[in-house]
Amino acid sequence: MIYYIAGGGLFLIGLYILLVNRNLIKMIIGLGFMETGVNIIIIAFGYVKGKTAPILSTKELINNRQVVDPLPQALVLTAIVIGVAVTALALSMVVSYYKKRGSLNLSKNKELKW
């Protein structure tokens, strides 16, 4: 349960950051929070108390179904990689944006309006 709360909490914190802040860097951090929150929630779904990691070490573990669900963990691995890629891309765009406009606030621009 604590995992759900933690994950949900992180998600909400990230969301709050995105809702309130206009600074691009902070918004990216907020996005990161949200991602981490979702990842924790996913792991928590697959977790069964008292079971070990789904690594093919000994036959008994598999046979007695002593492992947690491996699929969410695989998903999270993929999601983390994707998250990193997106964050990197976002940061590089922010750098380029800052060079051109000298500001970290998107809403000051009037060109792309309405």
């Binding site: 998903l75 997106v86 976002a90 051109k100 998107l106 792309l112």
Partner: protein, 486 residues
């Protein structure tokens, strides 16, 4: 028959080849790789379509694992149509780029374009939910890169907006996937469809449905989630706007309808969604009235049209689906044409402001004719295919006894006519007398698309009967999809 796996593998190989070729100083070749890859995709998708017409839905397991364990591809007729559109869009765009930028598109651009093709193809062919998420992310990241490609400040701004909204959307999508997984214990779309058919009352399923509405709504540019679209279409390079409007939005729609027709068939309040989508189209068409930038104008017009397309799919009737697919085809071709022509105009005038385009229709008659045909098709005037799209849509609407939606569609078409004909007015009104050199690349590309549009206008009933009806039928018969996978 072409193995559908190749449709995903070849673009991937292409994407890897481009930097390699650059490294060995064969950069010249790398520019042709997108062209070759997308041609391959186009041809094989068409072959695949005919194959699927005869055999029914094609299920291909990857690496020998059967569906519940392995990942599989589900080749449906609609999926094939989307892949055809996507590869056509990328082909057109790369063809245009070959001529318009003699030295430019860098490798990054080409790689992103090819990844766009890869991701879109994956979404259209996959039969696995998580796989769809991965392909969605590939498509999105490629799209973020491409929309910010101009690097003039505006590009980054649009790209960042798209990135934030898109990332939130994919997070929602991920949440939806995992919620479904906890209930159904599988990520296979057919399995999920089978499961959810009897468990639509489950609150978790419903909650995941909401997550999907939000997540895929953002990708499919559906009304309350499509704010990023005008910015991105305006700021992206012209050939990329053409791909976005013509193909990527259609891929998003495909994902949306695949999930909502196959998996969540019959969720409550889908009628509310109908009105939401239609009001969204109306607002978007209204917003297009005010635009001073031609690309932004057509972005809003796209949003309006997409609303109609999604509405057709929400009708839950085979003829509605058929109308939707016809409309989708028509809109994709027209928008590709229009954005490519805008590219030509931009090369000549180096502006996208509508007011500065006075008189170019008279200065360059061929461009004027192509653009006018595009606009007339978009406005849904006979004898062009847009008219038939509207006809089929209205017929399906009335057969389903939706009167108010039909009125909304009519009113929206009226608004559309207002801004579209104002464009013709500006194009043909007396303007500056300077001669411009319009790029032949844009015109040549435009000609290809015009031939397709005219073809669609000449044999609309044949296309409806032979292609869209069949695709719609296979989409409508959910049991076919589920059975095939078992």
């Amino acid at each position: 028959m072409v193995n559908p796996v190749l449709l995903i593998a070849v673009p991937l190989i292409g994407a890897f080849l481009i930097p390699l070729l650059s490294a060995v100083r064969l950069k010249v070749l790398s520019r042709y790789i997108v062209f070759i890859t997308s041609s391959f995709s186009l041809v094989s998708a068409i072959l695949l379509f005919y194959h699927v017409t005869y055999t029914g839905i094609l299920s291909v397991s990857i690496a020998g694992f059967k569906p519940p364990f392995g990942i599989n591809l589900e080749v449906t007729l609609l999926g094939c149509i989307i892949v055809v559109l996507l590869s056509l869009g990328v082909l057109i765009s790369s063809f245009y780029n070959l001529f318009i930028y003699p030295s430019e598109p860098e490798d990054k651009f080409n790689i992103a374009l090819i990844l766009l093709l890869l991701g879109g193809t994956g979404i259209s062919l996959t039969g696995d939910m998580f796989n769809m998420f991965v392909f969605l992310e590939i498509t999105s990241i490629a799209a973020y890169i491409l929309s910010a490609y101009k690097r003039n400040g505006t590009g980054e701004e649009a790209g960042l907006k798209y990135l934030f909204i898109g990332s939130i959307g994919s997070l929602f999508f991920l949440l939806g996937v995992i919620l479904l997984y906890t209930q159904a214990g599988s990520l296979n779309i057919a399995r999920l469809a089978q499961y959810s058919a009897s468990h639509l009352n489950n609150p978790v399923i419903l909650f995941s449905a909401i997550m999907f509405i939000v997540g895929l709504g953002i990708e499919a540019e559906i009304f309350p989630f499509n704010w990023w679209v005008p910015d991105v279409y305006q700021a992206a390079p012209d050939s990329i706007s053409s791909v976005f409007a013509g193909a990527i939005s259609k891929v998003g729609i495909y994902a949306f309808i695949r999930i909502f027709i196959t998996v969540f068939n019959g969720i409550p309040y889908y009628e509310a969604l109908i009105y939401l989508v239609l009001v969204g189209s109306l607002i978007a068409e209204g917003a297009a009235l005010f635009q001073k930038d031609i690309k932004r104008l057509f972005a809003y017009s796209s949003l309006g049209q997409i609303g109609f397309i999604v509405f057709a799919f929400l009708l839950k009737r085979a003829d509605g689906y058929s109308a939707g697919i016809f409309m989708l085809l028509n809109h994709a071709l027209v928008k590709m044409l229009i954005f490519i022509l805008i590219g030509g105009i931009f090369v000549a005038l180096s502006t996208t402001e509508i007011e500065k385009m006075k008189g170019i229709g008279r200065k360059s008659p061929i461009l004027g004719i192509l653009f006018t045909i595009g606009i007339l098709t978009l406005a849904g005037l006979p004898p062009f295919s847009g008219f038939y799209a509207k006809l089929f849509l209205l017929k399906a609407t009335f057969q389903h006894n939706y009167f108010i939606p039909a009125i909304i569609i009519i009113v929206a078409s009226l608004i559309e006519a207002f801004y579209l004909f104002r464009l013709i007015y500006i194009f043909y009104s007396p303007g500056h007398e300077k001669k411009h050199s319009f790029s032949t690349a844009s015109l040549a590309t435009g000609f290809i698309l015009i031939i397709l549009i005219l073809g669609m206008s000449i044999i609309p009933f044949h296309i409806k009967k032979q292609y869209t009806d069949k695709a719609a039928k296979s989409l409508f018969m959910r049991s076919l999809y589920i059975k095939e996978v078992k």
